[in-house]
């Protein structure tokens, strides 16, 4: 693996994968953009106020607070919180070993 990284083979390999992703993604995004532009000149809207959840995807602060209250606090106050923490650490270690093994 080290030899591959040193010779640039692995980096080139990853780049070629990304190249395919980026080029295809760009072409498809352009197709969607043109489809939006050429139809009505603008995006049609459907009133969906009754379905609105009143919070947007990128409302990060609210989401993080919700995550903390809903998941993190119960874990830390639960009787077996150390087991949960151990599982999280094990998972992180596993991810680190996996990523390290492939040179990422």
């Amino acid at each position: 693996m080290l030899h591959e990284v040193a010779t640039g083979f692995y980096v080139w390999n990853v780049l070629s994968w990304l190249f395919i992703f980026v080029i295809t993604g760009a072409v498809l995004c352009l197709a969607v953009y043109l489809s939006v532009r050429t139809r009505n000149g603008r995006i049609a809207h459907v009133h969906a106020a009754s379905e609105s959840r009143g919070m947007q995807l990128w409302d990060l602060e609210k989401r993080l607070r919700g995550f903390r209250d809903e998941y993190v606090r119960p874990c830390l106050t639960a009787p077996h919180w150390h087991v949960v923490m151990l599982a999280v650490i094990a998972l992180l270690l596993f991810a680190a070993v996996m990523c390290g093994g492939t040179g990422f």
Binding site: I20, F21, Q56, T102
Partner: protein, 333 residues
Amino acid sequence: MYVLSMMLKYLCAWLLMLATLAGALFAEGLYSLLYGGSRRLSQLTAPLRTIVVQARKPVILPDTARFVPSLYGPALAFAALLPICASIPFCTVIPLLDNGGDLMQIFEFALLSEVLGVAAVYSLGTISGDAAAKRFVEETLCTMTIMVACFASLAYYFESAGLSGDPFSLNTFTTGMRTLSVPWCVYAGIAVFVFLILSRTGIHDSELGCAIFEDGELVAYQGAPRAILYLWAIFKVFILTALVTHTFFPWGLFQSASASQEGGISWRMQTLNFVFFWLAVVLVRVALVPLCSRLFDKMCGLLPKKLAWLPLPLFTVAAVLLVVYGASLIVIE
């Protein structure tokens, strides 16, 4: 000259991906021909026609939607599937863009694709969009957990059996399945894994093939992004099916006799192998995927509602134990 050869390589990669996409659409058409109400041959092109009709509609988004992710998310999710497609050797023994079909790279791009697909649906900002996104996440987690368990336990078995090679390489698994004598318990474990993976493809099989949304779900999301999302779902199931089939396909079936006679690789036999491989992928998609998914649903339906989650972890653990038992048999010997 070098640039020209690289460009040719990329052109070949894209051509292969287009051929695979055509194969996925054909398999989907065959599915709707066999299971749909009509037996007319035009059903073969039904998925393609659905996509074209949907793509020609004006783009409609709910008022609550974030424009950028819900418009372009499906396109990027679909694009992230293509590198996976290039890493599965569909037509030659060597994948076009490979590091031996690295499983970690496949896993990472699959995850990226799922995240982009989920973000696109989630950013619609509606309650039904949230519910659909939550369903996608649950199904993805199930499929990926089973696949990680499958490949990790098989890698352990191959290592115990003395097979050298990169444990993250797809080719190591195909070589192992071809060259090693596998005990019954490992075969049983593999069968359970295949059953679980094919039953949890994340797609609801309807009469018209794979349906990413349930009937009447997200009607406020129309146009090209929805069409790409539908194509993404079809392609995703086909690639997953191909990945499983490629790993467990009996590759040596048409190779050994002629290879020994000619003292090298017989391209004619290899072509035959790949023709049968493509047929196997289509067959698995058309027959095994719906069979496994219906069997699994029936099995869950027999249990009380509170215990419906139980078969999946139970079967996964059983399959892992079977494969590990096979490895321990070798160690004891």
